[in-house]
Symmetry: C3
C-alpha cells in the first residue's frame, strides 16, 4: 500500500466504535478483509475460557447528555470516546452532583477527552474534556441518554489469516481491534500488520505465518484456550504489533524466555539498523504478550513498539489521533518488522558436512575473485558459518558471534547450502 | 532489650576471661541463659572431631610479672588480655632478656595491649602495651607467675537454643564465645544474636531457628562433626554473627555457594535499605563460615558484619573496647538481620494455579480500588508474582527480577496464596 | 640457545625457499634436526586427506626476467620472494604488456617485494618492488625463465618430536615451515618452538609434549586426517606458535572452546606478567588453529602471538626481515610460553581428603613460622586450595578465584599433595 492507500484505510477504520465486541468490530474486520482473506470467527457471549468468560455483546445506537432545552452538550455522535466503553442503557434526568460522579476528564490536559471502559462491572459514564466539564452549569438538570445494548446472547468477533510456508512451524503476528477512535494505540497495530501481510503474502516463506486481529486480553485468552496445544507445538516466534505508528525510537520488549530466536533476531536487526532503539526485558504488563508469556503458555512472543503504551501522554485520550502518527513512520516500522522476520525465516541450525579441517574453498570457487563476485567480507562470512555450523549454533547466533551484517551471513549460508556444504 | 539492658548485659560479660574452654565460658553461657533457655553441652577434652581434638580445659587463677620488690608490673587481674591465651603454669625468676622472648606488644600503637593465644602449642607469654614494655628495666630480674591449669580431663562448653517453626527446615544463627575482654570482636556477636532470639522467639516462624554460642573453630568443628548429616539435611540458610557492633557500613560475605537464598536475600535487603554496604564473594578465612563452607560441608551460610575482622586496626587489641562499639548500632544491626530473616522466612517457590493467560483479577477484587486498599504498586507486584510463579523462581528471585520492594512482594504473595491463586 | 646461537640458526634457515613441499623444506627440517631428534615424514603427492589432496612437489632451480641483452632484471637468486610460490615452468619471450599481467608489487611501499603463491591453480608470476616495476622499459621485450618442477610423484615433508611425560595426555605445540625468506611470519615460529623444545626436553614433565613442524593448512589437515582419533583422545592443551618474534604486545587468541585450560592459563599468566597483552575470542581465520578448531576437530588449541598476522604492514613482504624481529624478544616470548606451559603442567583437579571443616594446619606445621619458611601469602594459598579442592575446580580455576600468583598456588598445591592432604 502507498501512504495514500494506508491513509484511506485509516480514515475508514477511524470512526468505528470498536470495543471487546459489537458491530463496529465486525465492520472493522470487514474493511480489513478487503486487504486480505480474513477468516472471521464469532464466539458466543458467555463462553468460558481459562479463568475468563466472553462478555455480552455491546452495541450503541446513541448516547448524549442534554440540557433542559434538549441541547446536546456531550454527544457520542461527535466522538465515540465520550461514552465509557460497555456503558449500560440509561435514560434519566439528574442534577449536576449526581452526574458529576459519572464524568471523567483530565485537568492537566483541558482539551483532551480521556478513554475509559467498564467491561466487567455494570456501570456507565461519560468522558469529556476539562474545558467542557467546567462549562457545565452546576445548578442545572441534565438529561442523560445511553441507548446501548448488552446482549448476553451476542458474540465476540475476531479475524485471522495464515500464509502457508514450507514448514508447519509458525511465526505469529498478533494485533488487537478493540479500541475506538485512537491512532497509535490502536490503529497503527492493525495497519502495520496489514502492511506485513501484503508483503509477506507475495512470498513463499519457509516458516508459515499466522496473523491475528483480536480483541485485547479476552480475545487472546479465548484464542489461547482454544488452540493452546497447537500453538505450543508450532509457534517458533511471535510478535505483538502495537503502538507502532509514530516517529519515536523503537522499543523491543523481549519474550519471557528472553533469548528466543525472535529476541535475538530483533536485537541484532535493530543494532545493525540506523534506527535509535531500546531493548527491554519482559515485564508482565502491556499488551497480549502478557497472555502469550503467561507461565503456562510461555510462547516465544515479543513485541516491537515505538512510543510504547503508557509512556506517551496522549495514550488513551483523544489526543492519540491522526496528528500523533504518520503513515511514512508506519511504512518504516513495517520495514523493520520485515527485516526481523527475514532473519527469523532464514534461521536454521546448520551442520557443516565437511567439519574436519576447513573445506578447500579454492576448488569450489568460494575464494573471492573476479569470476564469482565474492568479496572479502563474503569469505569472512563463509568462514564463520563453516566454523560455527556444528549443530549447536543457529544462524542468528552465528550473526551475533561474527559481528557481521545479518544479510551477509544469510546470503552466504544459502550459498553454502546450495553448494552442499551445509545441511 | 533496651540499649540500657544491652549495656548491662555487655558489662556483665566484659570482664570474663573467655577462651576455647574454661569456667569463664560457663559463666558467659549462664549469663546469656537469663535471656534465653540455652541448652548447655560439655564436651570432654580429648574428644576427636574430624581432624581435630578438643583441647584440655584452661583456667587461670592469677598471672603477673613483678619486680624484685614484689610490685606487680603487668597483672592479668587488671586486663585479661595481658596473659597469652592457654599459657601454661609458670613460677620463675628471669632476667629481662629471657622475659623479652615471651612478651608481645604493638610498637605502632604504644597504648594498646595486643591479644595472643597459644592454643595448640604448650607455651606461655604476656601481652603489654609498648609504653609498658619500654618502661621495663633492662637490667632487672623479674618474677613471672602464671597460676593456670590445663586439665586434660576437663571439657569444652557451648550453648544452643532452637525456635520451632512450622517446618523442620532450619535457619542457623551462629556466633562465638571464646575471646576475653574485646567488644566488636567478640561481644557484639553474642549480644546481637541475643537480640535476634528475643525478637524471633515472640513469633511462630515458618522455618525453625537454631542459635549456636560456640567457641570459634574447634567448637564449630565439633558441632559439625556431631550433627553433619542432620545439618546438611535441614539447614536452608545460615549466618555467622560477628563484628557487628560498630557504626561502619555493612559487609556481607557470601556463602561458598554464592547464590544461596541467604546470599540473594542479604544483597536485596541491603540494596533496598538506606545503609551503606559492601558484598564480598566467599573467601576461605574469617570466622566459622570457614567451617560451614568447607568443601565437604558446603552449607548455605554467609556472614553479615560491620567492621569485619582484620580490617580495623583495633582488632585483637585492648582498643576493641566499649568506645569502639555502640548499642544503638547493635540494635540497627539486629534490625538488618531481622529484615534478611523476614525475607528468607517468606521465601517459597510458588506455583500459579491459573497459569494459562492471566487470572481475571477484577472478579477477584484484586484491581486497586477504594474498597480493597490496593495500590498500583501492589498490582505490579501481583502481576510479577503471577507471571514468575512457575515453580522455577523462588520469591527472592521474583523480588530481584521485579525490582520492587521485598515487603511489597512478600505481602502480595501471601495475599495471592490466601486467595488460592498460588500454591 | 644463546641469542647468538639463535641468530646462527636463523641465518642458516633464512635463505631456504620453503613452500608447501620441496627440498628446501627437507633442508629446513635437517637443520632443525641438529637441535632436536625430529622424526621426518614424507607424504606422497596426491594423498587424499579430508577435503584436500597433497599437492605435487615443487622445486626451483632458477627463475628470472632478463632484458634483450640477457641482463637479469629480476632474479629469484637474489630473493626467493621474487618468484610466485608454485609457479610452473616457463621459458618464453614476451613484451611488457603480456609480462605486466604476471607481476605483483606494492605501490604504497615502493621498496618492498610482496609474497604471493599459486598453490592450487597452475599459474606463474613474479613479485618485485614498485621501484623495480616502474624501472621496466614499457617498450622492451623480456625473456622469462622459470626452471621449476611440479612433480606429482613427489611428496610433502614434515617433522615431529615428542617429549614423553608421566601421563599419555598431550600438550601440542604446532608451528609451520612453508614460507620462504620472512622473519616474523614465519621463522619466529620454528625458532621459538625450538627454544621451547630445548628447555622442556630437560624436564620430565607430567603431561607429554608433541612438537609439530608442518606446512601450514595442508600439513595440518593431513596430520589431523591421519591422527584425529588419537589427538582427540589425548590432547589436553595446544598452542600454535606463530608471529612471535618482535617486540609488540602479546596477543592470545582463544581456542574455539573459549574456556579450555590453555585459554584460562594463558590469560592468567599474561595478566600476572608485566607484559602488555590482548585476549581475543576465537575467529575462524589465521593459522593452523583454524584446522585444530574446525567444528569436527574442536581441540583445545589457542595461539600466542606478538604482532599477529595481517595486522602488521610488513606481513607477507620482504620487509618482514631480520630487522623486524629480535632474538631477545624471541627469548622473552619463549619465557611466556614456558610460564603458560608450567601452569598447564601443574593443572590437576584435586580433592581435599579432609573436606569436613578445615584440617588442623598447626599440627601439620603448615602455619607460617620461622621453621617452615612459609609466608602469610602461602597460608592464603593453602586455604584457597583446601577450600576449592572439591573435585570440581581445577588448579587454574583456583588461581583465578583466589587472585593469587599462580606460582604460589602451584607451589602450595604440590606441598599439600606431598603432605597427603590432596589427592
Amino acid at each position: 500500500m502507498s501512504n495514500e492507500e494506508l491513509e484511506n484505510l485509516f480514515d475508514s477504520l477511524w470512526p468505528l466504535n470498536r470495543s471487546l465486541t459489537g458491530d463496529s468490530n465486525r465492520k472493522t474486520l470487514k474493511i480489513l478483509s478487503e486487504k486480505m482473506p480474513l477468516e472471521i470467527t464469532e464466539v458466543d457471549s458467555g463462553t468460558k475460557c481459562f479463568d475468563w468468560e466472553v462478555p455480552s455483546e455491546w452495541n450503541v445506537r446513541e448516547a448524549y447528555i442534554s440540557d433542559s432545552n434538549g441541547k446536546r452538550l456531550i454527544d457520542f455522535g461527535n466522538n465515540n470516546l465520550h461514552l465509557v466503553g460497555y456503558s449500560i442503557c440509561v435514560d434519566t434526568v439528574m442534577n449536576f452532583d449526581e452526574l458529576d460522579e459519572q464524568l471523567h476528564y483530565i485537568e492537566s490536559h483541558p482539551d483532551w477527552i480521556p478513554y475509559k471502559t467498564t467491561y466487567y462491572k455494570r456501570d456507565w459514564g461519560f468522558c469529556l474534556s476539562y474545558n467542557q466539564y467546567i462549562g457545565l452549569d452546576r445548578n442545572a438538570k441534565y438529561h442523560v441518554v445511553i441507548d446501548s445494548t448488552l446482549d448476553e446472547h451476542g458474540s465476540m468477533t475476531y479475524g485471522e489469516v495464515n500464509i502457508e510456508g514450507e514448514s508447519d512451524e509458525l511465526i505469529l503476528l498478533s494485533t488487537y481491534i478493540c479500541h475506538p477512535s485512537m491512532a497509535n494505540n490502536e490503529l497503527s497495530g492493525p495497519l502495520v500488520t496489514t502492511l506485513l501481510y501484503e508483503t509477506l503474502s507475495q512470498t513463499k516463506p519457509f516458516y508459515s505465518y499466522k496473523f491475528l486481529f483480536i480483541p485485547e486480553t479476552i480475545g487472546c485468552i479465548y484464542y489461547l484456550s482454544k488452540h493452546l496445544a497447537y500453538l505450543k507445538k508450532h509457534i517458533i516466534a511471535g510478535l505483538v504489533v502495537t503502538t507502532i505508528g509514530d516517529d519515536a525510537p523503537f522499543n523491543y520488549k523481549r519474550s519471557r524466555r528472553g533469548d528466543a530466536a525472535v529476541d535475538r533476531a530483533a536485537e541484532l536487526v535493530l543494532s545493525q539498523s540506523s534506527h535509535q532503539y531500546y531493548i527491554h526485558d519482559f515485564y508482565p504488563w502491556g499488551s497480549d504478550e502478557r497472555q502469550y508469556c503467561s507461565p503456562g503458555v510461555n510462547l516465544p512472543v515479543g513485541s516491537l513498539m515505538r512510543s510504547s503504551y503508557e509512556v506517551y501522554q496522549e495514550y488513551h485520550t483523544s489526543a492519540d489521533d491522526k496528528n500523533f502518527i504518520s503513515f511514512s513512520a508506519m511504512q518504516q516500522s513495517a520495514m523493520v518488522y520485515l527485516n526481523i522476520l527475514e532473519l527469523i525465516q532464514a534461521n536454521r541450525t546448520y551442520t557443516n558436512v565437511l567439519p574436519y579441517g576447513e573445506p578447500q574453498l579454492g576448488k569450489r570457487n568460494l575464494f573471492p575473485n573476479a569470476d564469482n563476485n565474492l568479496k572479502d567480507v563474503d569469505l569472512e562470512a563463509i568462514m564463520w558459518i563453516l566454523n560455527l555450523a556444528d549443530g549447536n549454533n543457529d544462524l542468528i547466533n552465528i550473526v551475533s558471534k561474527s559481528g557481521l551484517d545479518y544479510k551477509q551471513i544469510v546470503e552466504m549460508a544459502i550459498l553454502l547450502q546450495n553448494r552442499g556444504l551445509l545441511k
